[in-house]
């Protein structure tokens, strides 16, 4: 199983997407989709992605809830900033902070979370010094943002990825 189908979850995900796009469950589509997804899984295995060990998967759910709330709130905040942009000077700026995450996949997830919430944009991370450069649209108080990111995202990700 491991030799022929290294990523079973990815295989079935791709097959599902193929069937959804074609909106049919006929035998021909299933065979074609299986061949295609087996090929793509084989390519993925050749890329040799880094595998992480997930310690506590049940912590994903509260994290996702936090992200949904934060995306909504920061959408509103950025909307207000844009609507007032002509009248009030903008105090956006760069922020450098230390991130205590080692795992590649955890870092990639943190990058996606920070960029997906409007108001913070991930710019650069140095794996040697563990320093992360961010750009924040409404940078009133640097320590506030550092505490917020550490408390809401870094700590749960650290617990999940061990």
């Amino acid at each position: 199983m491991r030799v022929w189908l290294p990523y079973p979850l990815l295989f079935f995900g791709l097959l599902t997407v193929w069937l959804l796009i074609n909106q049919s469950l006929s035998v021909g589509q299933i065979i074609l989709g299986s061949i295609l997804s087996a090929l793509l899984v084989w390519i993925m295995a050749n890329l040799k992605p880094h595998k992480s060990v997930l310690r506590r998967t049940r912590l994903f759910l509260p994290l996702a809830a936090h992200i949904a709330v934060d995306v909504f709130r920061s959408n509103m905040a950025v909307m207000m900033v844009i609507l007032r942009a002509g009248r009030r000077p903008l105090n956006s700026g760069f922020l450098t902070m230390k991130i205590e995450l080692e795992d590649e996949n955890a870092l990639a997830m943190l990058a996606c979370i920070l960029t997906a919430t409007p108001g913070t944009a991930w710019l650069e991370h140095d794996r040697q010094t563990k320093l992360l450069t961010l750009h924040v649209l409404d940078l009133e108080n640097e320590q506030y943002w550092i505490d917020l990111i550490t408390r809401r995202y870094v700590t749960p990700l650290k617990e999940i990825f061990g």
Binding site: I82, T115, P118, A121, E124, Q128, K130
Partner: protein, 129 residues
């Protein structure tokens, strides 16, 4: 084939509200692209269209076709998941390349590469984040 005009009134109201909110949010994001004054603050604007606008308009379309029952609603699910997953990657790459270019041309308002301790040459091999 059933058309959008066959919608009952309550569903039409919900679809209208979602459509207006989504397109308004997208317009505000695009206005931010127009009004904000530095590149790095403009980098935040398309996220508004990509997260809020896409979600609301696709939700309107899903409700519309779920009530009409004319076809499956999976296209919208695919569109939303795809845009939500890919936009951060694009913006991250753009931010990185802008920072690289600004440093290369030594603009004075860009932070220089932060220097710290703990140099470990083994780590540089997998530095793709």
């Amino acid at each position: 084939m059933s058309y959008v005009t066959d919608l009952p009134v309550w569903a039409a109201m919900i679809v209208c509200l979602l459509l207006l909110a989504g397109s308004g949010l997208t317009l505000i994001g695009a206005l931010g692209l127009l009004k904000l004054d530095t590149f790095y603050s403009r980098l935040h604007a398309p996220t508004l269209a990509a997260s809020g606008g896409v979600l609301l308009i696709s939700l309107a379309s899903m409700i519309c076709f779920a009530v009409l029952q004319s076809r499956w609603i999976f296209h919208e699910v695919l569109i939303v998941s795809f845009v939500v997953l890919t936009t951060p990657v694009t913006l991250m790459m753009l931010g990185q390349s802008a920072l690289y270019r600004d440093r290369f041309e030594s603009k004075n308002d860009v932070p220089s590469k932060p220097l710290g301790e703990a140099l470990d040459p083994e780590l540089d091999k997998g530095a793709g984040v």
